[in-house]
Assembly symmetry: C2
């Protein structure tokens, strides 16, 4: 019998399953403003989802200010606090819950891997009203380097007991696609984080869909068939 590539999925969270990117972006702008840093919102949007360390390097590059560890920790806490205030308005993306249910029903393994910390990822996951007790959830707390390093996705694949060759990484940002490519995963883009189609294609997306509902409609094209 011929060798078959079985498919497993690793999902990013914000902008991929949860409609939370714009709230994160504005919370970052406010946290930066509180430190006297003015940065245009679109520049923050373009950097959301990358590791905190790289985000800080970006800030240094864009603003010319240097940031010590204490100041960074203070901004991160402030971002988390402001985001939590707006959490009530955050919704799951269309089809997100249905997609996870369909994968579970079809016995297709999947995990979640997010650059965020459990502190903010936990409440977001609750919004999906899904039983994640048998789902690997990998957050920034579990790895040394976040996206665009592939560590989050590699850790998720390890927990699923599969190799990168078997995994499609579904994400909304350029950092997801770059990290997928770095780890030799297939990157599947979704537009629901507010990035352009071509940005995702150019950063390595193998396919791009609108949102989780659109991924679900095309699941058979992604090897989601048993």
């Amino acid at each position: 019998m011929a060798h078959r590539v079985e498919t497993a999925f690793v999902f990013d969270l914000d902008g991929t399953l949860i409609d939370s990117v714009y709230q994160h972006v504005l919370a970052w702008q406010e946290a930066l403003n509180d430190e006297g840093i003015e940065l245009a919102v679109w520049r923050i949007h373009r950097k959301i989802g990358m590791s905190g360390g790289l985000f800080t390097n970006m800030l240094l590059r864009e603003t010319g200010h240097d940031f010590d560890a204490q100041r960074i920790a203070r901004m991160q806490q402030r971002h988390a606090d402001i985001y939590r205030l707006n959490l009530a308005k955050v919704r799951p993306l269309p089809g997100a819950r249905e997609l996870l249910l369909a994968l579970r029903d079809a016995n297709i393994p999947f995990a979640i891997a997010t650059s965020g910390r459990m502190q903010t990822a936990g409440p977001a996951l609750e919004k999906l009203q899904f039983d994640f007790s048998s789902t690997p959830i990998v957050t920034r707390d579990h790895v040394k380097y976040a996206k665009p390093e592939p560590d989050l996705f590699l850790e998720a694949a390890d927990r699923l007991h599969v190799g990168p060759m078997s995994v499609s990484v579904v994400g909304d940002s350029v950092w997801d696609m770059l990290a997928a490519t770095r780890g030799r995963f297939l990157g599947v883009g979704v537009l629901s984080g507010g990035y352009g189609l071509e940005e995702l294609e150019r950063s390595g997306a193998y396919r791009v869909f609108e949102d989780p509902a659109d991924v679900l409609r095309h699941l058979d094209e992604l090897g989601g068939r048993r």
Copy 2:
């Protein structure tokens, strides 16, 4: 002496001179939610800056709900109210004021043309701390059809006493570029509204810059030389 094309500029406001797109987007989401309509934030972002009538058609198409005039007026008022609450956090985009000052100093005519109403455009203009007393300001209140119809830009050109051939339209959205093309203006895109480079190029942008500061740095490439 050879015929020369003198350059004038027409600027969109939100996302082009003022960093207000993301606040508008989230205010729309909340106004829609209050009417029981759930729409993902990225879809609202992609429609921002188009005329209210087309925005409503889009809602009908995306949600399957029909909207009577009263309900639309209520949503628009609710959007304006929520946006006003967040206006204190809205900033001019980097270089916006400097760009307008440079044009004024060089005697290059310019106007503002926005799909918004004076109710929301007025407070945004104030943030630029610029004397607009001799600048044509064209809003949704002045024309029958807003973007992507070219009426706002045509009215602005009329008030500048120039034809479309002389005008570069600077805007952040696909609707600005489409309206510019429709009116035979040159469209110059800026990324500061959060759209992707390729989205703007594909909708007809002749050049794309990062933000007003970047436009100012390249003003000589746009005919901004006297």
